[in-house]
Amino acid sequence: MGEFYQVVIMPTGAKLVVEALRREGVKVVFGIPGLSNMPIYDELLDYLVNEEIKHVLMRHEQGAAHAADGYARISGKPGVCTATSGPGSMNLVTGLITAYWDNSPVVAITGQVPKSYIGRKSFQEADVVGVMQHIAKYVVQIKDVGEIPLWIKNAFYLATTGKPGPVVVDIPRDLLNAKVDREMWPEEPKVLGYKPFKTIVNPADVVKAVKILLEAERPLILVGSGVFWSDATEEVMKLSELLICPIISTLLGKAAIPHDYPLYLGVVGYYGRAEANNALLEADAVLIVGARLSDRTLPSYSDLIGGGKKLIMINIDPTDVMKLPIKFDVELYGDAKKVLNMLVEGIKEIGVKVSRVSWISRVKELKEYYSKYYYVDDGGLRPWKVLKVIREVVPSDSIITTGVGKHQMWVTSFWEVLKPRTLITSGGMGTMGFGLPAAIGAKIARPDKVVINLDGDGSFLMTMNNLATAVDYNIPIITVVFDNRSLGLVRQVQELFFRGRVVGVDFGPSTDYVKLAESFGAVGYDVTDYNDLRESLKKALNDSVASVIRIPIDRDEFALPQLPPGGSLREVILCDPRKGC
């Protein structure tokens, strides 16, 4: 009679990582394997086979971080990416700082060289903590295999609470291979020296804010990304309706407001709509919701100070407000959704009906006046009209991503968001190459939606290698390339502010976008007019693979309106000065 042995399989650190991800509800990991995160992949295989977690092999780690970011922005859940040590982890940097600047919850798991190799300039060694601590919300290097479950839990907690942001967990390879006697799964996160911001609002301040808004003759709501992240669109709209109050937004806040709402005036700021800039200048009371008033939104603080303007600020982070050289009449700290609800209830309680006939009339007048500068159709493919055609063809709930460059500014001014959370773009960092990988992440988050990357040629070429990922994984995203054969926005700045001394920005005829798409197995379209665009887009919507639509745009086409660098909202440039405007 043989002897029976009970085989006990002791889990490795890598197993703990993957199981911890599963326990956090992770459905997809974007990444690239290498020597130092390979044990994670080895354990991940079982979860892939069981279809508990999906893996998407990106073509560059920057793309993995952007894809995780795009996934997070569309799903509202943390996006996860992984990279190996050294170049792999360092390639995440651009993607992670992009997520950090826009408060997007991303968790990055990086493999590190074994502990005994650290500090010896070992093969593919990089100081992940040293680098990432400056470009992420937090970075932790694991010291002991037993810490892994707690720190994965902590990473998700930190990424999603307070101001969301990217968190990096760096794990030496020997710890990924080390075994533990038993698995210990923490029920709660534990991070010493961290307190998520609270919603603490004094009822008297709510009353004061309500009074200001009701008594104002020209009130205005400025919506920032805080409204996007707290899903507070409904509350903003309700408040606007009750107060008969126009809305303007930051670039990231644009995604929170349906543009068919008649009181929405567009994005304010450096590349903002002139009517939005003017409304901010003329308003006598401004309610700012979830915006930190960056230099892109408000290049000159003097536009908001003085003139007796009453200012109310809603912000999750009091220190954002304390840093500003602006005195607010009321400061309300907390989650935008909760605080807006308090204001709505406060207004309902008072029950005062307001009439804003002259202010609404003025706002309409501004919209009409500036339209004549925007919607010029004098031949060629005009960006505003290209966007109008796309808007007409694609479903109202289509998700749009963008790269960075002139096309992003055209989207800022002319893309009509019809459903909340259907536009994602790199606002704070202005990262070229964001659009395509972010679209991959967005499509995986919402496979039921049409996802379109509106990109520029310069921006697309920075991460277009990830088109291979879209094809391999049957992710039928559509990329529209505004092809002006140049780094157009830089060119525009040289034209306008460097005495027309154009240098280092023009591309040659090297790239054939149709052939490029086809070489990856995607479908390519080259359009020459609006009808062509319409038909190509309809075909692309029915394509089962990714597609690229190339639209030729005149190199001299400016992205306007814009302000001079550091200029006032009063100094808006509306039309091309080279044309005698």
């Binding site: 601590q133 290097q141 961290y194 307190k195 911001f197 304390m322 700290y333």
Partner: protein
Amino acid sequence: MTRGRVVRVVCHYRDASILENLVSTFRKLLVDIEWFYGRMVDENGLYEVYLGVRESRNFLTAVLDLSTTINVQSVEVFDKADFSSHPSVDGGGTAEVVKIYIPRGSKSECYSWGEKCG
């Protein structure tokens, strides 16, 4: 006396990156540090770190950024500090002196994760 302000940071030590973080918060805002020292105050890795910081228009921003840095419990600002002199371990000439700066009862501000404290 230090020529600027004295900042006391109470923080939790996991690894030495917390010290890098404290210093780089000032560096990123172009604020100069004249001196700093710290010590562990309990067995759980709670530290107090003192920094002598030059006056700068970015000073408040740096303090606020520090007060929302993960692992930092609170940040206090003092208007002045006196120092006491101690011979260095190596002894020797009069230049071999270690100065320990001690804030003197002039705390003006304290911040912790968006709240004013103390």
